[in-house]
Amino acid sequence: MEIVRSQRSRTNTPNDSVSTLPLYRYAPQLEVRLEDFEVFAMDRLRVLKGISDALARGKRPEEMENLVRDLWKANMRHPEASEDVNKDIISHFVLRLVYCRTEDLRKWFLSMETALYRYRFLLGSSEAKRALMEEFDLPCKAISRTEFENAKEKLEQVARSFDQPLPTADAIFYKVPFEEVPELVAGRRVYIHKGHAYVAMHQVVSLVVTQFRSNLSKALILTNRKWTSTIREQERDRLTPIVEALSMSYLGPDYSQTKEFGEISIKDLDQLARSSFPLCMRHLFDKLREDHHLKHGGRMQLGLFLKGVGLRMEDALAFWKAEFSQKVGAERFDKEYAYSIRHNYGKEGKRTDYTPYSCQKIISSTPGVGDHHGCPYRHFSEENLRAALGRMGVGSRAMEDVVDKVRNRHYQLACTLTFEAVHSSSCDAGINHPNQYFSDSHKILQPKVEIVI
């Protein structure tokens, strides 16, 4: 008689819990100790923060998979292996409470949890993937032999375009409405015909992730509602202080409030651009001085940066007007451009006070014809980059290091090295935000605090 092994006994492989993916559909009906409440959440937060940093540094998908496995192993294992799954679920739901409360927090949490889910899914076996797909109830159908034969040539073309092995005769493809797999469509990673995308087994993650993201996004809105209406008050003395403390701890300053070094004036701008602007902003600034114009992307990136640096709205209006009127005239400036500057400062429309862009956002933007925004370390040709760095005063030795980082797609590290070369001092934290570059630079160049009477 065969001994049937109990389903619940788990083999002691370290990878096990990382790819045992819960669905996070309902909050667990468990009793949780208050200390665990906080500790579990902080452990998970370490994982999410690790993912966030890695993405900002432009790590490749294979590196991310390994990173996630390591981060999970380091932080999410419970002394009792059977409790791993509970820790997973509990920590997720606690963080939902923490990160549901504002749009920015929700956006960050959504991105990181989705990335985490994606890589955990990829780490799982084919069987695990197939099972999870069924749970998700996705609108996809495996294609028939005939359909495969008809589409074979195109499917092969797609595979070749990404250096993937050609689909074999028994390869499984899913036919899915293209709306369900926007990332695959955007990257031209699938063959699309009459509104259906032909998704390979290894791409199925995109479907799952899109669903996961959509579910979590809706859930966060609901959680926020519950939090505001009942939980926050009910838990005033118990959970609320913990939840509020947790959200402060891991996101860096966003430079939307300029506090430290007071305001700067227009006449300082040229000199500050030369001494303290990161390359992306210096390039925009120089182009603006040269062409007396910038396209929308450039106006946003530079405009918000200047706001973060301490340029008052009235000064900003004067500055942009002085430049633009040389190209389009003062009247046209007032009519067409002044409004959006005021908009950036939160004085128009729905009055959002817009935040200066972080490196992550700038690196992922897509400058087109006539644009000068984006990250120059990413978009400049090597020749142009070297010339620009030379103008900043980067020596030949440092330049080689910078160019080397760029070749390996470490754009923020390249910028950090530039900073270090230009200021002859080290920047241990690394550059994550253009305004951080500016404030660090400012601190070095103006060590004495002026006493304002």
Binding site: Q157, I192, K194, V369, G370, H379, S381, N384
Partner: protein, 451 residues
């Protein structure tokens, strides 16, 4: 009718004496516009289109639908009126006739009447947000300035206009064959580009993310003056790009553009192409041949064809082993000919786009629809202008049925095309969708009631 003194050919003159000398000088002014909106602009067709079948009597019709659509008017003194909305065809028509906007833009359909937007919150359930919007594309020839030598900026001529024709063919085929869309309207933007409106229900309901994905699917040209190579194919091409290349782009480049733009005729021009080849030995070999110039070239064959053949031969002559050269020919062809879309226009649902049949203030030309199956026929230099149309109205047969005055003019062809090729099939499909959706709903109610 009072005979008022007026300075230039005003509407009085047109109404009183159609057979008088056609003294309608070219141009664009409020008086002409008034006549245009009064007698030629197809208000009813725009209303029917924007209603998507909801103006009928079927129980499934949403009576609030048209009223939730945003329009915006640009008035003569550059005053810009946003969030205009109308509850009926006559409200729309009267407002246009009264305000005489120099430009009419169409925005999305919102969750509530835009006029009531201030009553709604930014977040939560009761939000003022777009719920439907056509999938739109805007292609402007100024985005091709780095690859056309005949014109620059706002100018356009018959040598460079074919770039727009090619863009229409590539995108239209993809929208139909790849994405499965059927109800697509292409419109001349009035001066230097084309607009595309995809009106299928599926398209109108796309989210911003999905629109961004489609725009990225179409994106090939990346970069600006700071990067050398704007088109880069690290691997073999996706089926969509293969089809575009073999069916449209290659032939266009080799048989039309090479010649019309004289891409190899001067050093400056051929250097631009050489800068797209990342191999010194190839570029110096070619440069060497071309600097010798006239002596060696075959006098019968055009210098552009000749040099292009030389380039292809050099690239394909076994240097394929070198990375980055294998698809250099395609990269060059795509760099010059592949459509360059404005990503931002397509990605955001709340983006406004100029309505078809508007008149462009700077050129006086009407934004007429373009038949994608026949797009080579469109000549931007002969598109009807406002003053031409008014002249035609003047000399037209005054006994004709007043309801269809546009039939007397060149606008007639465009409106007939709009109706037969676009509006009627669209409305038919809307009706079918509405009916089947309604039946399904009824069935569902029945099912849930039965135990």
């Amino acid at each position: 009718m009072t005979k008022e003194e007026s300075k230039n050919g005003s509407d009085d003159m047109l109404i009183d004496g159609p057979k008088q000398g056609n003294v309608i000088p070219d141009g664009f002014n409020p008086n002409y516009l008034k006549v245009y909106y009064g007698r030629l602009f197809p208000h009813a067709d725009i209303f029917k289109w924007m209603s998507y079948g909801n103006d009928g009597r079927h129980p499934a019709c949403d009576k609030s639908y048209f009223g939730r659509r945003e329009f915006s008017f640009t008035l003569d003194n550059d005053i810009y009126l946003r969030f205009q909305s109308f509850n009926s065809e006559s409200e729309l028509e009267n407002s246009i006739k009264e305000k005489c906007p120099s430009k009419i833009d169409i925005g999305p359909v919102y969750s509530v009447d835009p006029a009531k937007r201030h009553a709604y919150a930014q977040g939560g359930d009761n939000v003022f947000a777009p719920v439907e919007r056509e999938l739109i594309f805007d292609i402007d020839i100024t985005d091709y300035d780095d690859v056309r030598y005949c014109c620059s900026g706002a100018d356009v001529c018959l040598e460079c206009w074919p770039l727009m024709t090619v863009a229409i063919k590539v995108i239209d085929t993809a929208l139909r064959d790849d994405f499965g869309f059927d109800h697509i309207l292409w419109v001349y933007s009035g001066r230097r580009g084309v607009h595309c409106w995809v009106c299928d229900g599926k398209a109108r309901r796309l989210t911003n993310e999905q629109r961004g994905a489609i725009a990225d699917y179409f994106r090939v040209y990346k970069g600006n003056e700071n990067s050398n190579k704007k088109v880069s194919f690290p691997g073999p091409l996706h089926p969509f790009l293969v089809r575009s290349y073999t069916e449209v782009l290659r032939e266009f480049f080799e048989e039309k553009l090479l010649l019309s733009q004289n891409l190899f005729s001067t050093e400056e021009r051929y250097e631009k192409i050489l800068s797209m080849i990342p191999d010194e030995s190839v570029t110096s070999e070619l440069r060497g041949k071309w600097q010798e110039n006239r002596r060696s070239s075959n006098s019968k064959e055009d210098i552009n064809f000749f040099r292009w053949e030389q380039l292809k031969n050099t690239l394909q002559s076994g240097k394929q082993k070198v990375q980055g050269l294998r698809r250099c020919v395609e990269e060059i062809v795509f760099a010059f000919t592949y459509p360059r879309l404005d990503m931002e226009v397509s990605k955001h649902r709340n983006h406004l786009l100029k309505a078809p049949f508007c008149v462009h203030p700077k050129t006086g030309r009407v934004c007429i629809p373009i038949d994608p199956k026949d797009c080579e026929e469109l000549d931007p230099t002969t598109v009807p202008t406002l003053s031409e149309l008014l002249r035609e109205l003047n000399t037209g047969d005054s006994r004709m049925d007043v309801d269809n005055e546009w039939e007397k003019t060149s606008l007639g062809k465009s409106i007939r095309f709009f109706r037969s090729s676009f509006l009627q099939p669209l409305l038919k499909s809307c009706k079918e969708e509405m009916e089947s959706g309604y039946k399904a709903k009824i069935q569902q109610t029945k099912n849930s009631l039965s135990w």
